[in-house]
């Protein structure tokens, strides 16, 4: 069996992972970076090199925010770092042995220190009918533009809330896609709640301006924008055909081919929870995240976290937090002194502070829609893999389930291929609501290996393969 040791193994080559690798390699650490995508970049800079090379129109459409990723990607590739693309990490042990799947066979390495930089995923939006072909995530549509240069055809509606909803809407509007409407699930009370945080947000006013620019692109394209939309319901036989919703107390129906849903993004905590790191519930944005010190270290010795997997704060903060984790690794492995670490960290801490100024405002304005946090209709599918409904989850509580893992045992909700990534938060919301508790009290799925499916044949192929970069 192949056995190889690195000073630092980083899982995820997004802005956080790439920045940490650049920092650590700069201090002469041996670094291995593993990422399941074909190209380094993470979600924001997905396929930036391929897009520039093969799809110039899409590259132009995606603009500066995307193209800027080239710089980080370039400095990442100029380091001595060993980088394996198309590599899925499916198990990490607390002694920092990392098991991964690549080209159909499994392999493993050990790390003196481990950095989990697995980013965020779009929060699933379980409305009635969300499993119909034609319904997908709005950030998913954005990823599709980046990874394949493909956009929805036919009539499109975007529904939900958050900066990435507007980003996708504005990019699709610029691509002249046929958008019928943007239906926001927030209302004036969100604005009231966010208002006290506006002065602080103005310290990072470039983000507010960006937001206003995206909205003006959508409005200039003549697209209808409604706020305070409720009761979203997708309808169709084999494919999405109609969207039902309520606006200002009136039910409405429109014919639509593609529905793009978005209610923010949430940390991708499969690996940190499988490792047994301590997690906490973030009430404002309604998600679990690992508990970290100021360098990103978790409760497990030698395991740190950087980027959106720690707390969702966007690419610039992810990148800066990657540098902090890289610096701390260099210090702990005796490459730099405490003072060198602390001095170098100042620049990145300043950057984080500046970028985070907008967060209290955004997080209050764009709080996730309560209708999808605890879906009310019993027939709504929550677990897409095992096809478990909200009603079945409620029933499991009546039968005696005391927490989320109890409901999982009763219903199989969360036991499918996605390992609870799609159902976890909504199922927890339903269990908590039925028990009259808070989601914090009902817990989250225990992250069990493999966090991504691995077949016996793949395990059998674990060979004395050597790693090539």
């Amino acid at each position: 069996m192949m056995e190889k040791t690195f000073d630092l193994v980083i899982i995820g080559a997004g802005p956080a992972g790439m920045a940490a690798a650049v920092e650590a390699a700069g201090h002469k650490l041996s670094v291995l970076v593993l990422d399941e995508q074909p190209e380094a970049g993470g979600q924001i800079y997905r396929s930036v090199n391929t897009t520039e090379r093969l799809r110039p129109e899409t590259y132009a459409l995606l603009g500066d925010d995307y193209q800027n990723g080239k710089k980080l990607q370039l400095s990442f590739h100029q380091t001595s770092v060993t980088y394996l693309s198309g590599t899925v990490v499916w198990l990490v042990e607390s002694d920092r042995t990392v098991h991964f799947l690549r080209n159909g066979s499994t392999n493993q390495v050990t790390a003196s220190r481990l950095l989990v930089a697995t980013g965020a995923q779009e929060r699933p939006v379980p409305i009635p009918g969300w499993t119909l072909p034609g319904v997908m995530g709005a950030a998913a549509a954005d990823v599709l533009m980046k990874s394949s240069g493909v956009i929805p055809s036919g009539k499109i509606v975007l529904a939900g809330n958050g900066p990435l909803l507007w980003l996708t809407a504005s990019r699709l509007a610029e691509a002249k896609a046929e958008i019928l409407a943007v239906l926001e699930t927030i209302n004036y009370s969100n604005y009231l709640r966010a208002l006290p945080c506006l002065p602080q947000a103005l310290l990072a006013n470039e983000f507010l301006l960006k937001g206003l620019r995206m909205k003006s692109v959508v409005r200039k394209a003549g697209i209808e924008v409604l706020s305070g939309v409720t009761n979203l319901h997708a309808e169709g036989e084999e494919h999405l055909q109609k969207l039902h919703y309520t606006h200002q107390g009136k039910p409405r129906i429109i014919d639509v081919d593609t529905l793009l849903l978005h209610e923010g993004v949430v940390p991708n905590i499969q690996l940190s929870s499988q490792l047994g790191c301590e997690h906490d519930w973030y009430e404002l944005q309604y998600y679990w995240h690992p508990v970290l010190d100021e360098w990103g270290n978790t409760s497990i010795d030698g395991v740190a976290v950087a980027g959106d997997v720690g707390i969702v704060a966007g690419a610039p903060v992810a990148e800066a937090s990657g540098h902090l984790a890289g610096l701390d690794t260099a210090y702990r492995l005796d490459r730099i002194s405490k003072k060198q670490r602390d001095d170098a960290a100042k620049f990145f801490r300043k950057k984080i502070k500046h970028n985070n100024a907008i967060r209290p405002f955004l997080e209050r304005l764009y709080s996730p829609n309560p209708e999808i946090l605890t879906p009310k209709e019993d027939s709504t599918l929550i677990c897409r893999c095992e096809e478990i409904t909200a009603g079945q989850i409620r029933k499991s509580v009546e039968l005696g389930a005391l927490d989320l893992n109890g409901a999982k045992a009763y219903t199989r909700c969360g036991m499918g291929q996605c390992q609870g990534r799609m159902c976890g938060l909504a199922a927890a919301g339903i269990v908590a609501d039925t028990l009259g508790k808070s989601p914090r009290e009902v817990g989250f799925y225990r992250g069990r290996p493999p966090v991504k499916p691995v077949t016996l044949a793949q395990l059998a192929k674990d060979e004395n393969e050597t790693i090539v970069s």
Binding site: T58, P124, T131, P133, V143, S147, P152, C418
Partner: protein, 97 residues
């Protein structure tokens, strides 16, 4: 229902879906290439056998699972097309019973 954006694309490659040839372009994911060619769904739900299509496009939802070149359960949103690739839908548990 998806379409390609922009005229310049990578070079053309041929893939086979359920025995039918489909034209795609270098640098596209298998799932994207299929859905732009008029394929409406990629898998059947486990229990109800209802049609499903990609939801997350980033490796989270497993709605894009296909058999690719003889390997089952491939996340086709993460895999780039290659000339001559042979792709099939998988049967759901519901269909097997």
């Amino acid at each position: 229902m998806l379409k390609r954006y922009g005229k310049s694309r990578g070079k053309t490659v041929s893939i086979w879906f359920e025995g039918q040839p489909i034209q795609a372009h270098e640098g596209e994911s298998v799932a994207a290439a299929l859905l732009t060619s008029g394929v409406k769904y990629l898998r059947h739900a486990q229990v109800s056998a209802k049609p499903r299509a990609p939801y997350c496009w980033m490796g989270v939802c497993y709605e894009c699972l296909l058999e690719i070149d003889g390997e089952q359960n491939q996340q086709s949103c993460l895999i780039a097309v290659k000339d001559g690739m042979r792709i099939f839908r998988q049967s759901s548990a519901a269909e097997n019973t």
